[in-house]
């Protein structure tokens, strides 16, 4: 097991360092004393509401706001024309495209922002929306990504000069095509499958919103907003609005879940700022659930034609993926600049073979923008789903047990650090060991026996495996930036005279428990009890710069920063302690919470004593200023590579197509576990996501571009009834290049679990001749798959 179990405990009963402890933030949450954006109420605050397009593609002839302006309580109505005057009608996206803040020429997806009402109450603002008269001329719609490149397809982005097609980018590739083609040519078996990862949505329980307060006298803008990346947002607002960055304070208070939904900048945030400038009063904008589902960052929409080549004995020789990516009406993906398909090229997965190649083509459609969200680790969800699905297809073709096929091909411990055929360098892993832990926990052999017995009786159960490898913790500045901002994170640590500490982070929790985990990291390094360490985050005026929380990067990047800044404090404490103990710093040795004289353990100073001495009158050596406070910027040398093996057991009723998830075993290796309770909680949540995506979550569109998943009646989130009691296991292979060996785990389960569920369902109904059906595997889709006619899930069911 981990080193977690042997740490001393504090007076409050918490581990001094790593180990299970209840969360510090819960004190306020269980009392209903959280402070979310919609809880922010300022004197004189107005409320904004957005009028949205009912059409997916239409020319705007005119907008008449006069009736709305006459409604008592309405302060202003802003349209695209008004913004054009301010140069704010369009804003840059996080991927060097542009997006309309309010439509001027035409609307390009259903739900697009058309006008913004500012009123005295949220009720009046919504009343006013009904009084705005927009004259639209509907245009032909591209809802089907496969038709976006048809000759004669309507051009969606005719705002871009000279644009004559719907291509976002023509070809982005990774791996060696020739080597891969050669591997395929020499293979005994080649299996190809069209695999769709349909459009899903992170839909955190708290929707997106903001409260903008532009002080008309000082010119300072304070923006309380639902953001996972407060510093990056501040910089983008400065660039978009031409506001001086030192006069922008972005505050991300408590965030009610993010999952990538709260990384991009949405028109609503910008409009609340505009509203505050226009009205000279604070303006709150909170989207409703339909707005959240229909206009903010969706995830996936990847059509992946996937092929695998192997010997007849099941030795994998190569994998190829040809992707058609649907980015919606604006390219609004949030990902490192040099990775237009995110980290999809890690699709070669956890297996040892030399040849892999992918090419990706991205298109515009009349659908909401987005694509990188929902705990995807920059599209590793798509990559893992493709490889784990195609491996199961190969197993079926070879009539080989999918566990046996995986074991035969998994990377071996001595191959690490492992350079993948598409250029990733996996840091560490003991894959076979992890897989065997999972198989043991689930009782794999017994399950296969049970399955055979059941099949003989006409009952259908399935066992699905997914083995995933992620690369997280973006990232090294020389390779990775977003809009030119390098992905390094700062961290400040102050140790007060009494030995209590404050650690300031650039990352922002949305429920991951940073206030506890980061206190534990500092505690581990300095021996200060975690209850004596306050974590400060989510306020750009009070925290150092960094790129925020997404892509499972908080622990790999900011966690390393926190450990290193604490070590810097420890080194400084050593000099102070040496002065106090009248010896040389080199004579001192560290034990948790204390420097002492080598060979004379009684002579020493605790970190608390040193803190007081550092602030006192003690004479310090020349060049040492006093105090212990320190700052660092951590620029990660590389990504970290968490991995895991998931096994799902389902029962399928072939008469109705209903799927019951009976069991789910998840064995994660995320390196060092700082707080195992929190790690397990992260995994639980991601497993529920996987069940949701595999079985029910979906945003489809009809041919007219109508969004068919625009409320919680239509976009189904899993409830307690669909989620089994997750069974978790672990192995621990610390990252060799991370200061505390942690790899990040926030997205592992969301990335790894959908394939396990789908593989289990397909395994259950394989006797009917089924090899694949696309998510979500609703009862209708499962029944149709059994009939040999699975549903095309990205479009309306016909």
């Amino acid at each position: 097991m981990t080193a977690v179990e042997e740490v001393p405990t504090s007076a409050a009963g918490n581990p001094i360092g790593f180990g299970r402890m209840v969360r510090k933030e819960d004190v306020r949450f269980v009392r209903g004393e959280g402070n979310y954006v919609d809880d922010v109420n300022l004197p004189g605050m107005l409320h904004g509401a957005i009028l949205r397009s009912p059409f997916a593609h239409a020319k705007i002839n005119s907008i008449d706001t006069s009736a709305a302006l006459e409604l008592p309580g309405v302060v202003a109505v802003v349209t695209g024309k008004d913004l054009e005057g301010l140069g704010l009608a369009w804003m840059p996206t996080l991927s060097y495209d542009t997006q309309a803040v309010l439509a001027t020429d035409k609307v390009r997806f259903q739900g697009q922002e058309v006008a913004f009402v500012i009123a005295e109450s949220r009720y009046i603002a919504r009343d006013a929306l009904e009084l705005i008269d927009v004259d639209y001329d509907p245009l032909p719609v591209v809802a089907d990504a496969k038709k976006a490149l048809d000759p004669g397809a309507p051009i969606i982005r005719d705002d871009k000069e000279g644009k004559t097609d719907n291509i976002v980018y023509e070809k982005w590739e990774a791996g060696d095509e020739a080597v891969t083609d050669a591997a395929f040519a020499g293979a005994d078996v080649v299996v190809t499958q069209e695999i769709l990862y349909p459009r899903v949505h992170p839909s955190p329980m708290e929707t997106c919103g903001s409260v903008a307060h532009m002080d008309p006298v000082t010119g300072k803008l304070i923006l309380w907003t639902t953001t996972q990346a407060p510093h990056a947002h501040r910089t983008v607002y400065a660039l978009v609005a031409g506001l001086p960055e030192h006069k922008i304070q972005v505050i991300s208070p408590d965030v009610g879940g993010g999952f990538g939904n709260k990384v991009p900048i949405y028109p609503g945030y910008v409009l609340s700022i505009v509203g505050s400038i226009v009205a000279k009063r604070p303006v709150k904008w909170m989207e409703d659930r339909s707005e959240n589902l229909m206009s903010t960052g969706f995830a996936r929409d990847y059509h992946m034609t996937t092929s695998i080549a192997s010997t007849k004995e099941g030795k994998i020789l190569g994998v190829k993926v040809d992707v058609l990516a649907d980015h919606g009406a604006f390219n609004g993906v949030a990902q490192p600049t040099n990775y237009p398909a995110g980290f999809f090229s890690i699709f070669s997965g956890s297996y040892d073979y030399p040849a892999a190649y992918c090419k990706v083509k991205a298109v515009y459609t009349n659908k909401a923008p987005g694509g990188v969200a929902y705990a995807c680790s920059f599209r590793i969800t798509e990559a893992v789903y493709a490889i784990e699905r195609i491996v199961d297809c190969l197993a079926q073709e070879l009539k080989m047990d999918p566990a046996e096929l995986r074991l035969k091909n998994l990377l071996r411990p001595e191959q690490f650090p492992y350079k993948s055929p598409t250029g990733w360098e996996y840091d560490s892993g003991e894959y076979e060991k992890t897989m065997k832990v999972a198989m043991e926990m689930v009782g794999y052999d017994e399950l296969r026996k049970e399955q055979a017995e059941k099949r003989a009786k006409g009952e259908y159960m399935g066992i699905g495996i997914s083995f995933f490898t992620e690369g997280v913790g973006a990232g090294p500045r020389k390779h990775m930036d977003i809009l030119g901002l390098g992905m390094a994170d700062g961290c400040d640590l102050r140790v007060h005279p009494t030995g209590k500490a404050q650690v300031r982070l650039s990352v922002q929790t949305q429920g991951q428990g940073h206030e506890t985990t980061f206190a534990q990291i500092v505690s581990h390094e300095l021996g200060i009890p975690p209850e004596d360490i306050e974590v400060i985050h989510g306020d750009t005026d009070n925290t150092p710069f960094g790129l925020g929380t997404y892509g499972s990067r908080s622990t790999p990047v900011s966690g390393a920063a926190a450990a290193l800044v604490a070590r810097k404090v420890r080194d400084r404490a050593r000099i102070v302690a040496a002065a106090a103990l009248e010896c040389a710093p080199d004579d001192l040795e560290w034990e948790l919470g204390r420097w002492f004289v080598k060979g004379d353990p009684e002579r020493g100073k605790t970190i608390q004593e040193i803190a007081m001495a550092a602030h006192g009158s003690l004479e310090l050596p020349e060049g040492v200023e006093g105090h212990l406070d320190a700052q660092v910027v951590y620029n990660p040398p590389d990504l970290t590579y968490p991995y895991g093996c998931y096994i799902c057991v389902v029962d399928v009723d072939p008469g109705t197509g209903q799927v019951k998830v009976r069991r789910f075993v998840a064995v994660d290796d995320c390196g060092t576990r700082i707080n195992p309770m929190i790690v397990e909680g992260q995994v639980h949540g991601g497993l529920a996501d996987g069940v949701g995506m595999a079985l029910m979550e979906l945003i489809a569109f009809d041919e007219d571009g109508n969004n068919l998943g625009g409320s919680f009646m239509d976009y189904l989130l899993p409830t307690s009834m669909e989620c089994p009691d997750w069974e978790l296991g672990e192995t621990v292979t610390p990252s060799p290049h991370h200061p505390i060996g942690a790899k990040g785990v926030g997205e592992s389960a969301t990335v790894g679990s959908p394939a396990a569920v789908v593989n289990a369902v397909i395994d259950a109904i394989a006797p009917f001749g089924v090899r694949h059906a696309d998510m979500p595997l609703t009862p209708a889709n499962v029944w149709r798959a059994i009939q040999g006619n699975p549903i095309r899930t990205d479009m309306a069911v016909e």
Partner: protein, 289 residues
């Protein structure tokens, strides 16, 4: 969050008070029961009554009792009370089975049987149950009360025979000694509306089915029932073959539309499959009675 348009509110204190208010206010008023259908529609501004007349204060509209040969359920009886009613369960387990899969436990605490019936959603579980059992609606207006068989209660999706100035006061279901009943539903997720549902009762006596009722929701069966399938079964032995023939007939009485819950062929298949499953269980229960 979405918010309702401006509306007036009146709280009715008795059935007579509710009727007189609704009559006086005319067709722009709407009675509100549990509110779990009307209020979301008001928030989405799909419904915009000038006045809502709240029936929640009318105690006489609540309760479950046996009267003569009938089970009587007050229109404002909550789903939770229907679900837990020993009297209803004793005569018709279908009530418990159907209520168990309606919405979620919190909605069932305030949502009412009468509200569900009057909302007349095409996927309404209780409409399928009511049609299966051949219940009766008791409707009160200023001219007195009238009764309408539940198989004539609906005028199409979201439409009922209730006129302005009238309210549904009771639902009555005939007691049939020896009846077995069952409810089957396929939903995409707990709490979702059904993809297709089927609820049935049968009375098996002397080796034959002497009486039966088949109700279906979410598949556009006229008045949520399958009379041709019932006719096929009545007087027949409850063999698997006869049950299957009736279930197939019921599927032919369904007229489902394709939507995100499923395509037409699947829903029609479910109408048969679920009717067959419900019939089997109801037959077994009746034979065991």
């Amino acid at each position: 969050m979405q918010t309702p348009a401006p509306v007036e509110y009146a709280k009715a204190t008795s059935i007579a008070d509710a009727i007189s208010r609704l009559e006086a206010l005319g067709e722009d008023s709407r009675p509100v029961a549990g509110g779990y259908s009307l209020i979301p529609m008001m928030k989405l501004r799909l419904a915009r009554p000038e006045t809502v007349v709240d029936l929640n204060g009318i105690a006489e509209l609540r309760g479950i009792r046996v009267e003569g040969n009938e089970l009587v359920v007050g229109a404002m009886t909550t789903h939770a009370d229907v679900l837990s009613s020993a009297i209803l369960f004793e005569h018709y387990p279908i009530f418990r089975e159907a209520e168990h899969v309606i919405a979620d436990p919190i909605v069932r605490m305030r949502g009412t049987i009468g509200g569900s019936m009057c909302q007349a959603d095409p996927a309404s579980d209780l409409s399928a149950v009511g049609s299966a059992l051949r219940g009766t609606a008791v409707i009160a207006g200023s001219a007195g009360t009238r009764t309408v068989p539940l198989r004539e209660f609906h005028d199409g999706p979201y439409e009922t025979v209730i006129q302005t100035g009238e309210i549904l006061t009771e639902l009555r279901y005939p007691i049939r000694p020896g009846a077995g009943s069952a409810y089957e539903k396929v939903e995409r997720r707990a709490g979702d509306w059904g993809v297709c549902t089927s609820g049935v009762f049968v009375v098996v006596s002397g080796g034959v089915i002497t009486e039966c009722g088949i109700g279906m929701a979410a598949v556009n069966a006229d008045h949520y029932c399958a009379p041709e399938a019932e006719a096929l079964l009545t007087g027949k032995a409850p063999t698997e073959e006869n049950l299957k023939a009736a279930a197939d007939a019921a599927a032919n009485e369904a007229n489902p539309n394709a939507d995100q819950r499923g395509p037409v062929d699947y829903k029609r298949h479910l109408a048969s499959e679920l009717t067959l499953r419900a019939l089997r269980r109801a037959v077994a229960a009746s034979q065991g009675a």
